[in-house]
Symmetry: C2
Subunit: 319 residues, 2 copies
């Protein structure tokens, strides 16, 4: 590990931020501007942090892998740019969405260009299987988003069905971030697989926590309207678990709400989900997946980076 | 060359068609269906034909490269799917917003998934530099489309500026189709480069011909409204060349038309472009680029495939 690097959260975050400010540029000025604006809006940079921590916990200097880490965040950014089109969102992370500023056509092109630019760099500079993992991950993300679209308003969605969607849509990129960090950090096959599993479980817990925050956080800290998922008829984990409690009256109230004829309103639906135990059960599921993520780290030797990866998982369970 | 293959147009077209019908499937049924529908709508399959002809003219059996050829068409199909994404401003009025959003969502995700699926397969099955060429090509296509958006309504666009856009947006995929066919067909470095140059010039001539047809073909054979480019305020090559003749009155008439206050109407603008020599000059430019494409083939040994590539170029000049 580099002597200058303390693998605490803020330091890795700053490293990534500095890298983006100092080094990010594509060949197209309009697209560079659109991406910089997305980056400037902030974000926890969790995916690149996972990449750097994975490389570090395999014994390598994380600073050598800043480009790779940045590509993980940029894949995420490109999907957000495209989400602005698909969701017709008015704001993303509190700033004007690319789609709103530039129009859907430019959002589609900016996202496409960013994907292509990432793959161009990754295929030029990284050995097999890194480019293959990243393209397979993007396929998984899209597949998961299509499954999510198909599941809109589907009150029969099971926890397994929910986890399949979360795994593809969200956890796949965390798994790839961790696995590629371990690959490029010189990890053994066992360590690489351990990292992939960590990312998978961490990502599922992360998505569950995101679902929970949509119902419990205040709008200011969330940076988007509370209850947005319900408004979009998404079937998120608190709802799945609340419905799983089997109260027929609750089912029918949600059914009316999603059918547009309910009288509960979003705060009413959230209160009902809480009454059915949906929020508490979600916290328990998050804790379960966070524990599985931590347990996956077992094949790695003791290190500050490994401890930090445990703390990241614990932080989700503590929300 | 396979004894079963006659490298005439219809045979290669049929080979590709049969391959798509028999073999195309992704892991996502919705996306497979969307892509199959696009494929069933027809198309000349020129990009895969160029790939197969390039492999063949380097002495290899084109049937060994059907997958690679198919990926070239599928990149084109994915860009067409994304082209379907429309700006809210253009479609809100009089259309059910949910239907529009759902259309956009599926278009964005289906195109993204298709790009990712192609790259997943290509990174798994093709050696460097094929995956890199394909991702760089996609970046070029997007870059060209952004440049084209920026050039909408720009009556100062020069022929050089136009060619730069056409080269990125259209010719890059023909160049990649030809170069990758030559690479996988075992061509020499000189032959691979010759193919890339052929594809580049062929693609520019192809785009110019596409522009010409938008003004001269009848709606039935074109499959879309005649004068569509003018309606979208695109500055295509017949207009660039007509403006280049320097008639101030013509410039002002087009300026009024693009400003929305003209009284010419599309047939009137097309007639004026013809009067200024824009159509004839375009035919001359197409012939010039077709000749350059044919000249690029010089390093290749005589073969039926090489002759067919010349015929493809001549066909553009003969429209």
């Amino acid at each position: 590990m580099a002597s200058t690097l303390r693998s605490d959260e803020s330091n890795l975050h700053d490293l990534v931020e500095h890298f983006f400010r100092a080094s990010f540029s594509t060949d197209n000025p309009i697209i560079t501007e659109a991406v910089r604006r997305m980056l400037a809006a902030g974000g926890k940079r969790l995916r690149p942090r996972v990449t750097l921590l994975a490389a570090s916990s395999c014994g390598d200097d994380p600073q050598r892998h800043l480009h790779l880490a940045a590509y993980m965040e940029l894949i995420h950014v490109a999907t957000l740019i495209h989400d602005d089109v698909v969701d017709n969102a008015m704001t993303r992370r509190g700033v004007n969405a690319t789609a709103v500023d530039f129009g859907n056509r430019v959002s589609v092109l900016a996202g496409d260009y960013l994907f292509a630019w990432i793959f161009k760099n990754v295929t030029a500079n990284y050995p097999h299987p890194v480019p293959n993992i990243l393209s397979a991950t993007l396929a998984d993300i899209c597949d998961g988003e299509v499954l999510q679209l198909q599941a809109l308003g589907n009150l029969e969605l099971t926890l397994d069905g929910y986890v399949e969607i979360a795994r593809k849509k969200t956890a796949s990129l965390f798994a790839a971030s961790a696995a590629c960090g371990a690959i490029m950090g010189g990890g053994s096959a066992e360590q690489i697989d351990a990292m992939r599993v960590y990312g998978d479980f961490y990502g599922i817990a992360f998505q569950m926590n995101d679902d929970l925050l949509d119902m419990t956080a205040d709008e200011r800290s969330l940076g988007k309207p509370v209850g947005n998922d319900l408004r979009e008829r998404k079937v998120t984990v608190p709802l799945v678990l609340a419905l799983g409690a089997g109260n027929r009256e609750f089912y029918e109230a949600v059914d009316r709400f999603y059918g547009g004829s309910g009288d509960a309103g979003i705060p009413g639906v959230v209160a009902a989900i809480a009454r059915e135990g949906g929020l508490d059960s979600t916290r328990a599921e998050i804790a379960r997946y966070a524990e599985r993520a931590k347990a996956a780290l077992e094949p790695l030797p003791p290190s500050a980076a490994k401890e930090e990866m445990k703390r990241l998982a614990d932080a989700l369970a503590a929300e």
